[in-house]
């Protein structure tokens, strides 16, 4: 993703004179100054303050006291809900991200061949992504996947006796995964954009070589859209791990039933605001940041092996 036209850059660098470099350095900071102001004013200092808070017993209402590593210790040793939340989040991310991307890619492939009405289709498929964290969503999901929901009425047509999916500890997380997959419109739009860029000649050449549809998909489409796939994978993984809104809305902010939808960020939020343990919540946030950063770094690392940039180096 970070590949640029490197030869051009070297040429430009060679031509650059020392005076211009200094000039450019100053300009760089001029252009970056709003962002730097924002970083230090709005993000970094509050973030560092939260790092400090993670070593305290801050409860929002009274001044924080230094407690050293106690929060981190508690997280890894004595808090049973913590590891539960980690598991729930991992399951959610690992199941929902591939499914969502598969749905997005599948529909994008179907849509890519359509000549008329693409715009309308695209917009309609995108609609669920717009609903986001709307409160209406909780009611809709209860109405679809509750004991007396539409889904069970549908099942009963086939003689299957349904369950209370959204309120069943064994299936509640499943309905949240479904909710995430349902919102496949956003990555789909991006896939579609990528697919439009694949040169038709490549398909024609493959067809001349006698390649079947599967073969063409595997050897032409997939490599050609690998940068888009990578972009989607990174974004969806981050948002998958950060998944908060749907769990918050559907479980009414509790992570229930019986902690079955207790996502990491939801638990963090409950600790910070409901239980007045902002120090602990801050510690959770920093561990989260570290793990997510490592995960992202690994993704970028593996990307080297399977992401093909047509511009090439």
């Amino acid at each position: 993703m970070t590949v640029t036209a490197r030869p051009a850059r070297t040429r430009a660098a060679a031509r650059r004179r020392p005076g211009r470099a200094r000039h450019e350095g100053v300009a760089g900071y001029v252009f970056l100054s709003p962002w730097l102001l924002g970083l230090f004013g709005v993000t970094a200092i509050p973030a560092l303050y939260s790092l400090y808070l993670s070593f305290t017993d801050y409860d929002l209402l009274t001044a924080p006291n230094w407690v050293g590593l106690a929060n981190y210790q508690r997280m890894f040793t004595t808090d049973p809900h913590y590891w539960h939340a980690v598991t729930v989040t991992a399951v959610f991310a690992v199941v929902s991200v591939p499914l969502k991307l598969a749905a997005a890619l599948g529909v994008a492939l179907l849509l890519n061949r359509e000549r008329r009405g693409t715009g309308v289709f695209r917009a309609l498929f995108y609609l669920p992504s717009l609903l986001g964290g709307s409160v209406a969503l909780a009611i809709v999901w209860q109405a679809m996947f509750g004991r007396f929901g539409t889904f069970n009425s549908l099942l009963s047509l086939f003689g299957v006796h349904g369950r209370a999916w959204v309120n069943d500890p064994d299936f509640a997380l499943g309905t949240l995964i479904l909710l995430a997959v349902w919102q496949f419109g956003a990555p789909m739009v991006i896939f579609l954009a990528g697919l439009k860029q694949v040169p038709v000649e490549l398909y024609e050449a493959a067809a001349v070589d006698g390649a079947g549809p599967l073969h063409r998909f595997w050897n032409v489409t997939l490599p050609m859209i690998s940068p888009v796939l990578f972009f989607n994978l990174v974004l969806e993984t981050i948002s998958g791990f950060q998944g908060f809104t749907s769990a918050f809305v559907v479980s009414n902010g509790t992570g229930g039933p019986t902690d079955s939808t207790l996502m990491y960020t939801l638990y963090l939020y409950m600790k910070g605001f409901t239980d007045f343990q902002m120090g602990y919540a801050s510690a959770m946030a920093w561990v989260f940041l570290a793990v997510l950063a490592a995960f992202t770094a690994v993704l970028f690392g593996t990307g080297r092996f399977w992401v093909h940039y047509s511009g090439g180096e």
């Binding site: 252009f31 970083l39 717009l130 439009k196 809104t245 960020t265």
Partner: protein
């Protein structure tokens, strides 16, 4: 597929269309149900499980619109529009300026700042709320839309900076060089090369900014106190909390109505959105 016989091709096209419509029905069903419910009378909501009402009633819309004392949803829509448009403008300006620096200019510590920028994408926002609140209160900005807008003007929405960095990297460097030969400095290159060519990325940013701000709930809840300053998501939540499930019809009516602006926004600009994504450095 180009080698297939015409008859075979027609079958494939039909199958594809049928498949697409089938998926579409499944995807849209919850939304249709929601819209249908918004148009049902209270007794029909309880008794009629069908998607569409037997008798369409518009009373939910009017009841929802005026469902709160002293203030109508019109006010919330106005507030949301003002905030969303301001954020669009802020993200577009800040994103482009910072992205230009990251993508094109060489200056000390550039790689470090870039890594920090990516890092800010990963931190859960909830722990920043309290320190940020203290800051904005000190500035006297609580209960104004400023805490929702000014940070964006300072490029705190790292996603958009990242998006535009990727885009600018895709603009051929030869254009910069041509401008430099014509006597342009970094500022001239920005104005004459990057700014005009970045339009698709700017539009992508504008659309996503608008949609995300329109849907944002948490920061708006924290910073807006006065009911007359409420935006649509907070208005909706307060309306639901204050009226319970007896008001499902009006609540859904307002939810559907609140989706309309973003949907129309998307419909109007989606062609440019696709163009923007295409060129955002994704094809290398």
């Amino acid at each position: 597929m180009t080698t297939a016989a015409p008859g075979h091709r027609r079958t494939v096209t039909t199958v594809r269309l049928v498949l697409l419509i089938a998926v579409l029905v499944v995807v849209l069903y919850p939304l249709l149900w929601m819209t249908g419910t918004a148009l049902k009378s209270p007794t029909e909501i309880l008794n009629n499980l069908a998607v569409w009402p037997r008798h369409v009633t518009w009373s939910n819309v009017t009841r929802g619109w005026t469902g709160m004392p002293d203030v109508t949803f019109g006010r919330f829509f106005l507030n949301s529009t003002v905030v969303a448009l301001a954020v669009v403008l802020a993200n577009v300006c800040a994103g482009l300026v910072s992205a230009y620096a990251f993508a094109r200019l060489r200056f000390p510590l550039r790689r470090l700042w870039f890594a920090v920028m990516i890092g800010t994408l990963l931190l859960p926002q909830h722990v920043l709320i309290v320190p940020q609140f203290v800051l904005f209160r000190y500035l006297g900005w609580v209960d104004t839309p400023l805490p929702l807008i000014v940070p964006k003007l300072l490029g705190t929405d790292a996603f958009f900076v990242f998006l535009m960095v990727q885009f600018i990297r895709g603009i051929p460097r030869e254009l910069d060089e041509a401008a430099i030969i014509d006597g342009c400095g970094p500022y001239g290159v920005f104005r004459h090369v990057i700014l005009p060519l970045a339009r698709p990325a700017l539009i992508t940013t504008a659309i996503f900014s608008f949609i995300w701000t329109w849907n944002d709930f948490f920061s708006q809840l924290v910073y807006l106190n006065d009911v007359t300053r409420y935006t649509v998501p907070i208005g909706l939540r307060t309306f639901l909390d204050s009226s319970g499930q007896s008001q499902i019809g009006p609540m859904f009516a307002m939810s559907v109505l609140s989706l309309l602006p973003v949907f129309l926004f998307f419909l109007a600009f989606q062609r440019m959105l696709v163009e923007g994504i295409n060129t955002a450095g994704l094809k290398g």
